[in-house]
Amino acid sequence: MSEPYYLPLADEVEVFEAAYHSRLPVLLKGPTGCGKTRFVEHMTWRLYETSDGPRGDLAVPLVTVSCHEDLTATDLVGRYLLRGDETVWRDGPLTQAARSGAICYLDEIVEARKDTTVLVHSLTDHRRMLPIDKTGELLVAHDDFLLVISYNPGYQSVLKDLKTSTRQRFVSLSFDYPESDAEAEIIAHESAVAADIADRLAAIGVKVRNLREHGFEEGVSTRLLIYAGELIRGGIDPRRAAEIAIVQTVSDDANVQKAVADIVDMILP
């Protein structure tokens, strides 16, 4: 596996490494598409792929689960499945990771049902274990196992806030969209567009995010800007690409769309 690209914006790499060495569970906060998942991939690569020990040989070093409101504890821990005329136990992703010593990344954890969030409690304190009630097993997590969760404080309602008892088990790293220069660098790297186009796209990002409050709370994500870049590199006219990836995506309000389109029109050459 090659190194997943990640441009550090502050000390997050060092912090995560330190957290990993003490096996402290990590909570990543930040708006959608700002690079949380990529960061976890990058850190897994740093901590696993470049390791000389047995960690380096792990087949699946990162287990990612995108949480949704129907996600149950069973989905995470595991269930009995039928095979022929017998039932066999099948580990869920969380159990798998805890057993093998991988990093388990629960993306958008607040989306999951409340019982799911409580499930991780015993894994995230000094006990580091996971009771599997269906098999009666008390799984003690592998030494290398680490739990990482992410959540987006912006768009969830108050009802969907993370419980304090859950939140307090994690060290928190905050993410936001990068500064204009760094973002341009990321766009240029990821979408392989020319530097000046990347600069322009990053400038659009800054201006459009100024309109965050109007119907779209998050502004345009770095991911969307990269998409626009990829379309441009694929031969689509920059204006059209920005329209598809940015203008139409950020808001459904006609006035806001018009304003965003006008900003794009002025910034693109």
């Binding site: 149950t72 069973t74 269930r79 009995y80 499945l81 039928l82 022929g84 005329d85 309602s157 108050v158 400038a203 201006k207 459009v208 100024n210 309109l211 109007h214 006035n255 806001v256 018009k258 304003a259 965003v260 006008d262 900003i263 794009v264 029109d265 002025m266 910034i267 693109l268 050459p269």
Partner: protein, 618 residues
């Protein structure tokens, strides 16, 4: 031909995106000192409409460019240090002026210098703007044939200030260079004078700089205090006897910081005084108004400012006092509201646990088992109380007349009084002489309005309906105030009660725009059942609400129209008034089932609850 009114909304958003803060777009008159972006009321240069609209955007970009490209960052001391030609001139006396004004005052004829500066600086800012926003070049190219070219003698300096690294100081230098030669010419041509509001904008920007400086100074002073403490000296900076360098430096720092603080305070108060009419940090919205005489909408006629109520403005004990006065009733009201039956129960199928097995899911499990595949283990169904999906906005009239004591609602002896009492500009010396002196704890209409709303809030918290609490007032069509005590998505907190308690009688009652704005908020909140309740104490009226002040027909008709628009948007409206003569005009404003006139002001809370329960009980 494009009217500003037609493109105002997306254009304001565009400006906000570019500037990173809300900008008030205003028509014409650049001499006005209010902050804002000034634009012509209509642009009719090209046959192509989209091009005319694009010129609006170009003008917005260039005007915002003055801030973006450092015109307002002009600092007179730095200018004198950098420009020998300026340092050679004697400095003008310093009053409280913008640094740009100080610069102009270096010349014998400041207006000439100011015109020259405007011409050259505009060229510089435009060049920078086009560099940063290359998309604007095509519009500028289209516009150029329709504009006057710069005067010949200015061309060389303009070329120079259009260089990528030119700053406002290069402009200043160019002004000095050209001033001696051609001052007279420019002075005589009156147009193109540097607009007055720019100098205020410079002062505003300078204030922000000073505030940053103050932060730095504070940091320095506290660092200095730490140094002194760590050296074992327990004396605070600035209080010592002045022995030793460190202490001397410390004292100077403190003095400089205090000076700066004083300067900031006085500048801020002057700016506030100047901009008083349009609150700088409030968002503004334009609304149409129905003109019943011409039977058409006046486009983007009223400007409404949305102002968040500062809970700290509440009188003495604020929310606590309000709480005290509603507490005796709160429990009963809550109980009465809790009796509102929820709309019903909903059965949610296929869940992991619940109160009943889901037969359909079980059949699926059986068939899965037979087929030899793993069944879904979610075989229960759950009974859930369906959520009441109600959103309500309470719109409280904060006109001056709500300051009247409740007793004054008795029929007054003076025949003309009923109307005039509600008129905030009526010089009511005579009328007040007739009024009984109010006892110290006499309650005013506003107090009862606030209690009614606070009671509603506690009740609605009990049943979980979403609601917002707003007040409205204002003076004139360009300054309608919409005060926000609680937004829909805000939880009910101590702060909320304080904000309700901080509602104060203000000026007049232009109801139309306030209703339109509240209706917009309701629609955005997105509840299935939307209710707008207006609590007022008199008919809609404002200084320019209609052709003549005595005639309230115009205002009544506009309000009726606004209510009608809201109804059409699926909002249930309801007016509650404590004005006994309310029947006269409410009948013309809304259907009989949509309003209520309360005889005794004290009965307002109960009436409001009753109306709300009837409206939302489906």
């Amino acid at each position: 031909m494009v009217d500003l009114a037609d493109v105002e909304r997306p254009l304001a958003l565009f400006a906000e995106g570019i500037a990173g803060r809300h900008c008030h777009l205003k028509v014409g008159d650049e001499d006005a000192a209010d902050p804002g972006v000034y634009l012509p009321a209509r642009i009719d240069i090209f046959d192509d409409e989209t091009l005319n609209a694009a010129i609006y955007r170009l003008r917005v970009l260039v005007q915002l460019g003055f801030r973006e490209f450092g015109t307002f960052a002009f600092d007179i001391d730095r200018a004198r240090a950098r420009i020998p030609g300026l340092a050679a001139r004697p400095p003008p006396p310093v009053h409280r002026e913008s640094d740009l004004t100080l610069f102009f005052n270096h010349f014998d004829a400041p207006p000439a210098a100011r015109s020259l500066f405007h011409v050259i600086e505009s060229a510089r800012v435009e060049a920078q703007t086009l560099r940063r926003y290359p998309g604007a070049r095509k519009y500028k190219a289209a516009l150029d044939p329709h504009r006057d070219a710069p005067v010949d003698f200015l061309r060389p300096v303009i070329d120079r200030v259009c260089a990528p690294d030119a700053t406002v100081y290069d402009t200043a230098e160019a002004v000095i260079e050209c001033y001696g030669m051609f001052a007279v010419d420019v002075e005589e041509s009156g147009d193109g004078a540097f607009p007055g509001h720019m100098e205020w904008a410079q002062r505003e920007a300078r204030l922000e700089d000073w505030e940053r400086e103050l932060d730095d100074a504070n940091a320095e002073v506290s660092a200095m205090e730490v140094v002194e403490l760590s050296s074992g000296d327990q004396v605070k900076v600035g209080q010592g006897k002045g022995d030793g360098d460190v202490r001397q430096v410390g004292q100077d720092l403190v003095r400089a910081r205090d000076d700066l603080q004083r300067r900031i305070d006085s500048e801020r108060s002057e700016l506030r005084h100047r901009f008083g009419a349009s609150p700088v940090d409030a968002r503004s919205f334009l609304y149409d108004e129905w003109d019943c005489l011409e039977r058409r909408y006046r486009k983007a006629w009223c400007r409404l400012f949305e102002i968040e109520i500062d809970p700290r403005d509440a009188a003495d004990d604020g929310g606590r006092g309000l709480m005290r006065s509603v507490r005796p009733y709160a429990r009963a009201v809550r109980r009465r509201f809790e009796q509102i039956r929820p709309i019903g129960y909903q059965r949610i199928r296929k869940v992991a646990d619940g109160d009943e097995l889901d037969l359909g899911a079980l059949v699926d499990v059986r068939s899965d088992l037979r087929a030899g595949v793993s069944p879904d283990d979610r075989v229960y169904s759950q009974r859930k109380r369906a959520r009441r999906d109600v959103g309500a906005a309470f719109l409280v009239d904060l006109s001056a007349s709500t300051d009247d004591p409740v007793e004054a609602a008795e029929p007054p002896t003076n025949d003309t009084a009923p109307q005039d009492l509600r008129d905030p500009w009526f010089d009511d010396d005579d009328a007040s002489a007739d009024r009984p002196p109010s006892p110290a704890e006499s309650r005013r209409i506003i107090d009862i309005q606030k209690e009614a709303v606070a009671l509603m809030a506690t009740a609605l918290e009990g049943i979980g309906d979403e609601y917002g609490v707003y007040g409205f007032s204002g003076y004139g069509k360009d300054c309608i105030e919409f005060h926000v005590a609680k937004e829909f998505d805000e939880p009910f907190r101590r702060r909320t009660l304080d904000a309700i308690a901080a509602m104060k009688p203000k000026r007049s009652t232009r109801m139309g725009p306030a209703i339109r704005h509240a209706a917009g908020k309701l629609a955005a909140a997105g509840a299935a059942l939307k209710v707008l309740m207006i609590v007022s104490d008199g008919f809609p009226q404002d200084c320019d609400y209609g052709p003549e002040r005595g005639n309230h027909e115009y205002g009544v008709r506009d309000t009726a129209k606004a209510l009608e628009e809201a109804e059409r948007a699926g909002i249930h409206t309801f007016c509650v008034t404590v004005d006994r003569s309310g029947h006269d005009y409410l009948r013309r404003m809304c259907p009989e089932t949509h309003y209520m006139v309360i005889e005794e002001t004290e009965g307002l809370p109960a009436a409001l609850q009753k109306a709300y329960r009837q409206l939302t009980q489906i």
